[in-house]
């Protein structure tokens, strides 16, 4: 569908984690993200505890669970915005928040204001140089390299056709692709996504999910994605964390998305059905019904 930059042309992405003493890239590399008995407290209440998780380069991990259980908080803990109450957390062999531009982040959001007169490509550029002070030299070599990198990443997400339009006039799916490009523009080794499929229609959900899966596996980026619904991403996933009130389970989708495991986790009967095309359907999960709100309503 979209032109893809071959993984061999980007040797820089996995090199940093290899330098940390891990074994080779193809064998069993050290986890890029590691949580051991992690717990978090917000406002005196323990949201979750006992979370163990290893995510390796090129692995796609989903964080699932009911609303309000602290899925987004897990991403904020990995970013270092919210401190963990206990346990050990390592991101790229550092403490959370210390890996800088090696971690890309896409927060949960509604959408850009329709009247915002900034092009999509400018929003992508902000991901590259938006935190730099002062005025850039307009015709320098770095400026040209940056322009090339932006064009490359915009093409990677398949947004070249509308990247020059004001971002407020792009559709929800188009905005989400541009924001993924923004998060990827500095070639992060870890990509943290908070409900990126929320407020997208079904075709766009599966298209964006496929895009994230492709970036994860081909560009060797470790992806942690908070998701409301497992179905659009299920066949791209390598690993799943299910969070419930208090506890959590993690493992491969087959291990975790299982009637017995989820029933034990939630303490209420949950049934996991397998459809003929191999998809898993979770029934009875104690979750508020999905809200498909209009994206312009906010």
């Amino acid at each position: 569908m979209n032109p893809v930059v071959a993984p061999t042309s980007q040797p820089s992405a996995p090199s940093a984690s290899a330098a940390s003493g891990a074994s080779g890239a193809s064998g069993a590399p050290a986890p890029v993200i590691g949580l051991r008995g992690a717990a978090v407290r917000v406002g005196g209440r323990t949201l979750w505890s006992g979370v163990d998780l290893d995510v390796r380069a090129g692995e796609f991990t989903a964080v699932l669970g009911p609303n309000g259980v602290g899925k987004s908080t897990l991403v904020k803990v990995l970013l270092g915005i919210v401190p963990a109450a206990s346990g050990e957390i390592r991101v790229l062999d550092r403490r959370p928040g210390e890996a800088g531009s090696r971690v890309g982040y896409l927060p949960q959001r509604r959408s850009f204001d329709p009247d915002l007169r900034i092009r999509g490509i400018d929003v992508v550029r902000l991901g590259l140089d938006g935190d730099r002070w002062g005025v850039p030299l307009p015709f320098s070599r770095t400026r040209r390299d940056e322009r090339e990198r932006i064009a490359e990443v915009v093409e990677l997400v398949g947004a070249s056709a509308y990247a020059h339009r004001p971002i407020g006039q792009c559709s929800g799916g188009e905005q989400q692709r541009l924001l993924i490009a923004q998060a990827l523009v500095r070639r992060p080794e870890v990509l943290l996504l908070d409900e990126p499929l929320d407020s997208l229609d079904l075709p766009n959900q599966s298209a964006v999910a496929a895009l994230i899966g492709r970036i994860c596996h081909q560009e060797r980026v470790a992806v942690v994605m908070v998701a409301h619904d497992v179905n659009p991403i299920l066949h791209h996933l390598d690993r799943v964390v299910y969070i419930a009130e208090g506890g959590a389970v993690s493992g491969t989708p087959d291990e975790v998305i299982d009637s017995d495991t989820l029933t034990r986790l939630y303490g209420t009967p949950v049934e996991v059905l397998r459809t003929r095309d191999g998809r898993l359907v979770v029934v009875g999960q104690p979750e508020a019904p999905a809200v498909h709100s209009d994206r312009h309503a906010g």
Binding site: R109, R117, I118, R119, V123, D131, W133, P166, Q182, P203
Partner: protein, 302 residues
Amino acid sequence: MGSPVLSWNLLDDFQLMWSYPFMVNAFRAGAIVAVVAGAVGWFMVLRRQTFAGHTLSVVAFPGAALATLAGFSLSLGYFGFCIAAALAVAALRRGREPGGSEESAATGTVQAFLLACGYLFMALYKGLLEGPQSLLFGSFLGITGGQVTVLAVAGVVVLAALAAIGRPLLFASVDPQVAAARGVPVRLLSVAFLVLLGAATAEAAQITGALLVFALMVLPAATAQVLTARPGLSLLLTVAIGFAVTWAGLVAAFYQPYPLGFFVTSFAFALFLLAHGARAVARARERRRAESGRPVLVGSAA
């Protein structure tokens, strides 16, 4: 002076105007103010902080009124009040998202109180000056060389500060969450921007008067953002439009017996309408081309 007549030989006209020192000062001050107000106003329009900007411009009035009453320099009154009000607005909405509805209430409180103070100062003064009218609607007759110097120095400081924080400020304005995650000090930038906004408002108020500051702060930026979505070009266009309407307003006010603020605002407003008209035409043409072209494809999933 007798009533001069515009000859439409612009070289002669400018030579005539340049023979009056007060006009030279007015052109200089107008140029400085147009550039500073345009650049800061561009960010204000992008950040949707026009209400905060309006409050700061209203505050320019009590500042100038108090300076007149207490007998200290007008510039001090303008800059002191506007920057203090900027800090007050920043303090009142700590921890809130920029442009939120909570901001309007707190900001409105400051605005109403200070406007009332300005009214009191004017009532106490009962002086010989033209009274509140020139403070509210602007005047170009009495600009001194010293005032131009103050405007220039303050303008250079504001522009230098804006250039230094420009990119992180743009990031924080467009995408505050990601900017914060990238380590951009979003809240600090928001306070810094309000201070710059206060300083730019204090500058503009000295030319257009407190009530017509928006002619230079909002209209050029709004017009430029209608015409282009490229940030750099849009910013340059804003400054150019502000400069053009200010000088055109000065020429018009020199030759016509009507006030400067009216001319500057009307020219800026006319350009704003023209820009919207141009965009509507361009859009209609685009739509017609799209309709006559290929049918719209519904994308298939993945």
